[in-house]
Amino acid sequence: MITPAGLAEAVLWGVANGCIYILLATGLNVIFGVMKLVNFAHGQLLMAGAFIAYETTKLTGLNPYLSILVSMGSVALIGIALEKFAFRRVRGTEKLNEIFISLGLIYLFENLATLLWEPNYNIQIESPLAELNLTIGGVLIDYDRLLAMVIVVVILVALVLLTKKTKIGLAMRATSQKSEASMLMGINIGKVYIFTFAVGAALAGAAGALYGILFNFNPLIGALPTIKAFAIIILGGLGSIPGAVIGGLLYGIAENTAVYLLGGIWQDAIAFALLIVVLIIRPTGLFGEKGD
């Protein structure tokens, strides 16, 4: 039975789920926009973020929402290491090299996590708000999802301020538009790349911590969120942060309402059908611009 309240709940939860995808897709987009690098192991950074937040909370008793900061910082450091010791080595060579490095990193991360934790042993970060929920006009939503939405908004605002109001943000934008010209203007694009990868990884770390609070997870969870994040950035437009936000929201809502209206088997079909429709109408995505 379909009811207006049920539909509203499905949409609201879709927005909440979409928020996690937004963070992941934005990170992927920031890296692609500035470095033109496609990192297929981005979902594994989400997984790392979830485990770091889990262990931080477990070992120190820190509030899970504060552990998001630890997760962001730690995954940013992992991102710096990846950029410095893996991707930088093949920069300027065939794109295929970057792709294979990122594919190799998937296995490296998954196997490392499997060694450290049980293979598909699922765990979840215990939230102090786990059993609390709120009813707004007959629509029920839990505090964890509400807080997740607020946190994502705060992070995105901070990201916009970073890119618009800071010198490094200006350098990132310049590099994303014309890297050679930026270099000629005195921008150290090596440092910009490191910083960009750290920012993208930190966003994945935040997404991972939130994922771990809302859902249970294991070392092998990274693949599906990566595919969804790629779908979202294609939907919103490659390299566009507003595109990732709108794409993430549309994807989350489409996924959840499809299940509510049509049944569970339509979950992925409807969301990807939406992607195909958008690409047919607008091949560059909703906010994408024609490339070089």
Binding site: W13, E118, Y121, N122, Y260, G264, D268
Partner: protein
């Protein structure tokens, strides 16, 4: 004269005693054959999964126990030989991951018997090399009986196997969806419905309102269909008011739970795996406000299910076949207690799961079959497995015996399952089970530990 007779008698007795002593020490037994070698048992386990690790651990435990006793007697070699476990790592035990490792185990490692397999999809593919090469395979997972009944499928069904002889090498030592849906449906009719009727003054003619939430795969759809069939065939006072499916890749189940909530059920039967079932119960109670009675199935009889569910699982229901977390002064079956304690001791306190128990039994079933066959000849081992008749071990059997003859010649067992209610111990911060159904089991007169109670905050379906 008397002395002479006594002397002769004494000599005869001494000679007879010496003969018996020599016979006792196998002096007259033929020397062990030069052909004697270790028995190679292939353990089919996806080591990327918790279930696979459990299978591997349980098999290793049983093999170590047997080897510590000198091994398995093989009559044609006139000696006991040790078992050499060959790990057949099927990674995630998915449909695409099993055939290769099983083929390698058969062709390269030359395994004598295969034991294990967790998922139906993986086993359906993994069993094909064993069928083709006539290798006895005791399947200790796979909750669909398709793994033994492929020969009976319609001719146009792609899963059908026409090789009747090859299929006869397959043995299923595991409960199926039919076994546990039977227990769940009868528990709902026998225990839950009367409780609701008395608690909420429902008319006795009112049927229990059941919702089924299942994975959208063969296993989930199978549970949904077989439950409806059992309700109809056994004429149970249960009405299925909603069914909803979810993709195996889903991470949230809220849209399905909203739909189910709108159907006003008395209970929600979940056909899922450990992680999704725990998430469904938590989302249903805490986030969607569906304060119902949730019933999980035996695959969730795993320590991680208890941990994931935590306090939210208080008074919820788990159908099971082996109570590895049994709470009581004495174990309901002593061998289950011995198994759990040995497992925990060998593996640093890890509590065994469900599929490992089947595998542990299967190793002993194999030992028994080889000793009766007297050879490692695969055809003779298959024949011996077919005539297995052993006392029940870790799983409870309907006639307290392990036999692979159900009267339909499918090499299946007749297991019994039961219902546990999960109880949250706030002092210990742990969720523990208590058996609430049935009252007794074959060979166990007082099995039930407590009466079924409704969870606090429970809201029944519409009158």
């Amino acid at each position: 004269m008397n002395n002479r007779i006594l002397g002769i008698l004494a000599i005869v007795i001494i000679i007879a005693a010496a003969f018996v002593a020599l016979w006792q020490f196998n002096v007259f037994a033929p020397a062990p054959s030069a052909e004697a070698r270790k028995i190679k048992i292939g353990i089919v386990a996806g080591m990327q999964t918790v279930e696979g690790k459990d299978i591997d651990r349980a098999a290793s435990l049983a093999i170590d126990e047997i080897n510590a006793q000198g091994g398995v007697w093989v009559e044609e070699w006139h000696t006991k030989v040790l078992i050499d476990p060959i790990l057949v790592d099927t990674v995630d035990d998915g449909a695409g991951s099993t055939a290769g490792p099983v083929t390698r185990a058969i062709k390269d490692d030359q395994v004598d018997v295969l034991i294990g397999g967790a998922t139906t999809g993986g086993t359906l593919n993994g069993q094909i090399p064993a069928i083709n090469d006539r290798v006895p395979f005791i399947i200790t997972g796979a909750s669909l009986n398709l793994v033994t009944r492929r020969g009976s499928l319609p001719v146009d069904n792609p899963l059908r196997i026409n090789d009747t002889v090859g299929m006869s090498y397959m043995f299923h030592y595991c409960t199926t969806i039919s076994d546990y849906s039977q227990t769940v449906a009868h528990f709902l009719a026998d225990s839950v419905k009367p409780k609701l009727d008395s608690e909420y003054s429902f008319d006795s003619s009112r049927k229990l309102r059941l919702a089924v939430l299942h994975r959208d795969d063969g296993y989930g759809r199978g549970v949904r269909d077989v439950t409806s069939t059992i309700i109809a065939n056994d004429n149970l006072p249960i009405e299925v008011v909603a069914t909803a499916a979810y993709a195996p890749t889903a991470t949230t189940y809220q849209p399905q739970l909203i739909t189910i909530k709108d159907s006003n059920p008395d209970a929600v039967y979940i056909a899922g795996f450990t992680a999704d079932t725990a998430e469904i119960i938590k989302e249903g109670i805490n986030d969607v406000g569906l304060k119902s009675l949730y019933i999980a199935v035996e695959i969730c009889e795993d320590p991680q299910f208890y941990t994931l569910l935590g306090a939210t699982g208080d008074k919820q229901i788990l159908e099971s076949k082996i109570a590895t977390q049994w709470q009581g002064n004495t174990w309901y079956l002593p061998q289950v207690g011995t198994y759990v304690e040995s497992y925990k001791q060998k593996y640093n306190g890890i509590v065994p799961g469900m599929l490992g128990a089947d595998t542990y039994d299967a190793v002993y079933i194999t030992k028994n079959a080889i000793e009766r066959a007297g050879t490692l000849n695969k055809e003779k081992v298959r024949d011996a497995l077919e005539t297995t008749d052993m006392p029940q071990s870790l799983l409870i059997m309907e006639n307290q015996r392990i036999t692979f003859s159900t009267g339909t010649n499918y090499h299946e067992i007749l297991p019994k399952t039961f219902i546990e209610q999960l109880i949250w111990n706030s002092a210990a911060g742990e969720l523990k089970p208590s058996v609430v159904y049935p009252t007794s089991m074959p060979g166990i007169s007082s099995f039930k530990q407590s009466d079924f109670v409704l969870p606090s905050g429970y809201e029944p379906g519409s009158p």
